[in-house]
Amino acid sequence: MIALLVAAPLLGAAVLLCGGRRLDRVGHWLGTALAAVSFVIGLVLFTDMLGKGAEDRTLNQHLFSWIPVEGFQADVAFQLDQLSVTFVLLISGVGTLIHLYSIGYMEHDERRRRFFGYLNLFLAAMLLLVLADNYLLLYVGWEGVGLASYLLIGFWQHKPSAATAAKKAFLVNRVGDMGLSIAIMLMFTTFGTFAFGDVLEATGETGEGKLTAIGLMLLLAACGKSAQVPLQSWLGDAMEGPTPVSALIHAATMVTAGVYLIVRSGEIFNAAPDAQLAVTVVGAVTLLFGAIVGCAKDDIKKALAGSTMSQIGYMILAAGLGPIGYVFAIMHLVTHGFFKAGLFLGAGSVMHGMNDEVDMRKYGGLRKYMPVTFVTFGLGYLAIIGFPGLSGFFSKDKIIEAAFAKGGTEGWILGSVALLGAAITAYYMTRVMIMTFFGEKRWEPDAEGKQPHPHESPKSMTIPMILLAVGSVCAGGFFSIGDRFMHWLEPVTHHDHGDSPLSAATVTGATMVVLVIGVTLAWLQYGRRPVPSVAPRGSLLTRAARRDLLQDDFNHVVLVRGGEHLTRSLVYVDHTLVDGVVNGTAASVGGLSGRLRKLQNGFARSYAVSMFGGVAVLIAATLLMRAV
């Protein structure tokens, strides 16, 4: 049954990718249907699980022994518990919606069938990732989603920028993957296994050093997949992909895999405080980083990407807090999945109506032309900034609370950062909202001179948007009332209330204050005054933020340039030195040959001289041998 979850979309991918043109007309429906099948199976399993007691909700399925080698056991086996079923529902649910949306969005693309194949491949890999019962199989899903992400970011391969972005995403992720594989190797040498159950139970039997090392390596992996500093640079570029992809992979699901990994490995981190600290630091830094970048971008998708980074920063921060934060990390993950997917779909809908224009400075006043989009996007907006009662309010608030609850100076710092992040979130999201839907029209004809005619998107696109908006509005409340979500996950992640120096009400109040400040600032800057359609030069920070806080420049100079020089010099070394030594030896033998050859001068007498000398040496040597 669990295997079917993965198998259905995998089958879809195989059929769609190998099927050829014959499937062009039905391919998208097939893909969507199989995604839905997964979702339905997920629901069935979920209800099944609800029927059981909290302690025996974990389901295991062993398919076959994958790599049986002496002293090494890797299985293809699944584990379905509360944590994974949460993900399964999110992935397959949002996934199905986005499949649906894509039918409309990709209608005019001649390679739509392939697009759905890739989407199905992604679903399969992502489900494998969350269902695996050991780290190695998780790794397969981990790289599988990376592959799908690569294929989908670069879906419009004819655009060099898309191809480059795809490659970049894969490479940066590979750096993270390196961390994951080292972590697995460490587990193998430490515990002799890398199955979740065995490893997590045995954490007490080894020293903190090992666990810290494993934790840091897992963090590296999470940084790669979840676009956390210092491996965040790929996410902005990843927006080159079609918008449904951004919504599904680069907002709702794949990028949160890092959070899943950390929460899943909770026992390791719990026993390694240093690693935990590193996690919180990474989360806090990324939270601000993403938010600042999000403020400066004029490209609607890149602004949202900055936001995603920042929100995942929140989750990572929460996950780093240990049992205090695990539940909230996952909760924020789920609510974020709803509203961010909704926002992206909204952005896609806007672009759909605006001839694929992405620059917000060329939008303006769209609320009248796209009412459904406006409303759903607006609800998502309210959810993300944490408007009271909407889902973001509950989940984010809890994280800020938990950060303070960490206690000590750390708690204060982390809490303050989280609060600051909330203010910036309010600011940049308001900015996006105003620039897109309010103010004057700043529309411009596209490159082919076509004036945009904004219109509402077709049903297949709006329905998913509406459903996601509903999720954005209700999920938080539904989860939080009576701490339902906490109780649901507690058997897996455990929970600890921590020791908050501030009361919950204080924190909520503070959040509200910073929220108002952020919204007001944005309104002062963009609502009151007309938005210039060409970006002003801006302050140093703005310019830096537009360039992703110069991280790409750093990468370019240090890694790309440095790498180019390194490879170029190595090519030279290989040619001249390594090959040169051999060629040189050959040449010197040749030279020796040329010189010795001259002795053969054609004169019989000189030959006789050599013979005479030879016999003299021969005699001398013979006598010498005797003398010695």
Partner: protein
């Protein structure tokens, strides 16, 4: 006279012959030097025969003479044909093939 002195003489002759081969240019002279070396050997054989008091050495000397004669026949034939084609009796002129 001490027969050993004949040996010294033989060695001397041999050396003279060898030197001649090395430094003379005329093919005929070179060839004569080789003959000189052979005769030096003969002298040595005879001297040794005398020293040892057996006849082997002397017999060998006869054989050597025959061989030398045969060598002359072959050698002169070759040298003459070379001389007729090149009109030169210098060994050094015959150096078409080298390197």
């Amino acid at each position: 006279m001490n027969p050993v002195n004949y040996l010294y003489l033989a060695a001397l002759l041999f050396a003279i012959g060898a030197t001649g081969v090395l430094i003379r240019r005329n093919v005929i002279v070179v060839f004569m030097c080789v003959e000189l070396m052979l005769n030096a050997c003969n002298l040595a054989f005879v001297a040794f025969a005398r020293l040892h008091g057996n006849l082997d050495g002397q017999i060998i000397a006869f054989f050597t003479m025959v061989v030398a004669a045969a060598e002359v026949v072959v050698g002169l034939a070759i040298i003459v044909s070379l001389f007729r084609s090149r009109h030169s009796a210098s060994v050094d002129d015959a150096s078409l093939m080298k390197l």
